[in-house]
């Protein structure tokens, strides 16, 4: 939990503890990565406006070395900061002032370990092989590192390769939003996913854009 506001941090700690989490607070941007190394948390709550190193930079550094889910806390949901944060690797964001329930829901979605459908062993999408249980994606035997969110996104598309997913549906299935939310989340993460799994991200073959509707899995090769 990286936030410079002590009162909010304390309140968040109370709420999170109440939900059974173990929050660790870091108040300064420069110490965030260090704190991450010390504690190795399951999820990072990151304020974008911090003293010292700012949230986007921290996000980028964490993402460079780890697949840990990152949820941004932001007071300016409309600015370029949000997109910058998402592009830097944040999975989701919560705009202040948020409700405790909302935040908890976001956190739980990100920590969810696809408990359903353990029966399916492997899925194929394009030339990728997805091992659902093992949470791994391989191309020609070489593993591709995906964050849990990217994996969920790919899995959602791969499970129903015949279906075109609208951004809203993806938001609901992958991010757990029940109401319409910011579709920039989908756009940014599809870009990030493509940059990892596509041979040529400019001409995607696995996650294909369906103009005016959304995305679908590419044809089986």
């Amino acid at each position: 939990m990286v936030d410079d506001d002590a009162a909010l941090a304390e309140m968040l700690s109370l709420v999170l503890r109440n939900e059974g989490f173990e929050p660790i607070w870091c108040a300064h941007g420069d110490k965030a990565v260090e704190a991450y190394h010390d504690a190795r948390p399951d999820l990072v709550l990151l304020d974008l406006m911090l003293p010292g190193k700012d949230g986007v930079a921290i996000c980028r550094e964490l993402r460079a070395e780890s697949l840990v889910p990152i949820v941004m806390l932001t007071a300016k949901s409309d600015t370029i900061d949000v997109v910058a944060g998402l592009e830097a690797g944040a999975d989701d964001y919560v705009a202040k002032p948020f409700k405790a329930k909302e935040l908890i829901a976001r956190i739980k979605t990100r920590l969810r370990r696809s408990p359903e459908e353990v029966d399916q062993e492997t899925l194929r999408i394009g030339d990728l092989v997805i091992n659902v249980d093992g949470h791994t994606v391989k191309r020609n035997g070489a593993a591709i590192q995906l964050t849990p969110l990217e994996f969920d996104l790919l899995l959602a598309l791969a499970r129903k390769p015949w279906q075109v997913f609208s951004r809203e549906v993806l938001l609901e299935q992958v991010w757990g939003y029940r109401h319409a939310a910011d579709t920039r989340l989908v756009n940014v993460h599809v870009q990030r996913l493509r940059s990892k799994i596509e041979r040529d991200p400019e001409h995607p073959e696995i996650v294909v854009t369906v103009r005016g509707i959304g995305y679908k899995a590419g044809e089986q090769t």
Binding site: M11, L14, V15, A75, K96, P97, F98, A100
Partner: protein, 600 residues
Amino acid sequence: MRRALTGADSGAGTGASRAWWRLPVEWWWQSLPLRVISSVFGASVIVLVLGGFLLMRQASLGVMEAKRESVGIEARQALDAAQQQLNSADLTGDPNPDKKLTELALRFANRSGGSDQYDVIIISGGQTTTAGDVAATSVPDNLRAQVATSDDLLMAPTEVIYRDDTEPVPGIAAGSGLTLPGTGRYEIYFIFPLTQQVNILGVLQTAVITTGAILVVLLTFIAALVARQVVVPIRAARRAAESLASGNLDDRMKVRGRDDLARLATSMNYMASELQKQISQLEELSRVQQRFVSDVSHELRTPLTTVRMAAEVLYEARDDFDPIAARSAELLQTELDRFEALLTDLLEISRFDAGAAVLSVSEVDLRDIVTRVLDGTAQLAETSGSQIRVHAPEPAVAEVDARRIERVLRNLVVNAIEHGEGRPIDILVVADDHAIAVAVRDHGFGFEAAQAKLVFHRFWRGDPARARTVGGTGLGLAISMEDANLHRGWLTAWGRPGMGAQFRLTVPRRAGGVIESSPLPLVPRDLVLSTLADGIGKPVPALDPAPAVDSEAQRSDPTKLGSGPVAAGSSPASPPPAAPSPVPPSPVSPSPSDAAGAQR
């Protein structure tokens, strides 16, 4: 402005019969130099014609007077000489005194030097003797009459007529009686042609006309130069002013010299720099203000988050509190929602004010948005008891920012529920080729026609005495208006006290398109139809026999509609309502299934 108007008029081609004089008139009013040059030209022509005329008159009078004098002297000398000769001559017994006279005349004529200075005519009784080529008819009759009774030398102007084909010229005739001793009285006339004088005057006239013409041309040219000297800086000033008006605040005029025009330029430049200063000051102020609002909103968010979470904790635990603390926790919770909504709206407004709001358009069916909005407001509608009926028979796909349109429609629907007094609310979605209109009609309090614009003002309250039930922020309609403007769409309100209100959103089908008319009239359709029926004096004619129309028409109170112009008189909201009468009410189908659909 004038230029544009007249240009448009003549461009419209009002017919050749009228156009021929319009063009010069147009030029006349358009061009200051043209007016100056024409005025100078006209004035100098008049002056020069008058001057030339006077000059010619003076000159000819002078020349003629001199000639008259010399004619008098010469005629007297000749007469005296002739008399002497006649006196000395002995004509007594001469059988042919006429011959003598002819000789005499010829001698005079020759004595005049053969230069045709004058010719002589001698008349005695019925006989006429002439020397030279002049005809006897050159002597005017009145002169002859005078000479017959007088011995003085008399003169009169005449026309010299020649016996050959030479053109007649003006001349002077001098005449007197001549006594031939023994024979009787003769009349002798001297005819002086004015050929030379006429020639001189002719040359003079030519000179005057030529000089005049050259002067007119030169004066006109000078006028053109002067006009140009004045007009060029004025035009420069005009261009500078126009440029300033169109926002190029850095434009300045060139200042040359120290004359009035230079001072005009200086003043213009001063005005421009003052304007620029003021505008940049205002811009800076406004920027600071917007920045401040934005910062305040953002800064409030972090503590608000803490407060909100604390309030939630208290709210969750309210069962353990005593009643006062429990109720306080509830109030805290609900008011925080309102506070947050206000903050969000404030931020949104400041975003519009800062010009930071941008559209992210996508193609959506507005009916889907309506459905979503109704899903979101179903609970509120249920609480207030308003039944919401949707009339949206055909697809209404447009390129819009779905988030903003949803916000607008939610605002309108919530507004209608809040002011609808539990009566039914109708939502109409109608599309034409260029635009899509969504109207939200309630049958609640309504408002005065004059308030149709005010309702979009920030924090405006129709009736301060009325309590707020839903507790909107007071910014909802203002934001909706901004959202509509951002789409280049219209948001208009119609209302009458006791007859409810209708808000109509019209957006172009294509992003950036321009709407010229809305597919829906501004005045609610049910009123239009019922007044139509009232006006004809019978139910709605075969316009559309669908029972839906009747039910629509019957819904409104006919007694209130008796005040004729109410429905026809459009509120002063910005775009004029589309002609209400010919709208076919086909999309109106408040079938139970639709209503049920809306009630989900």
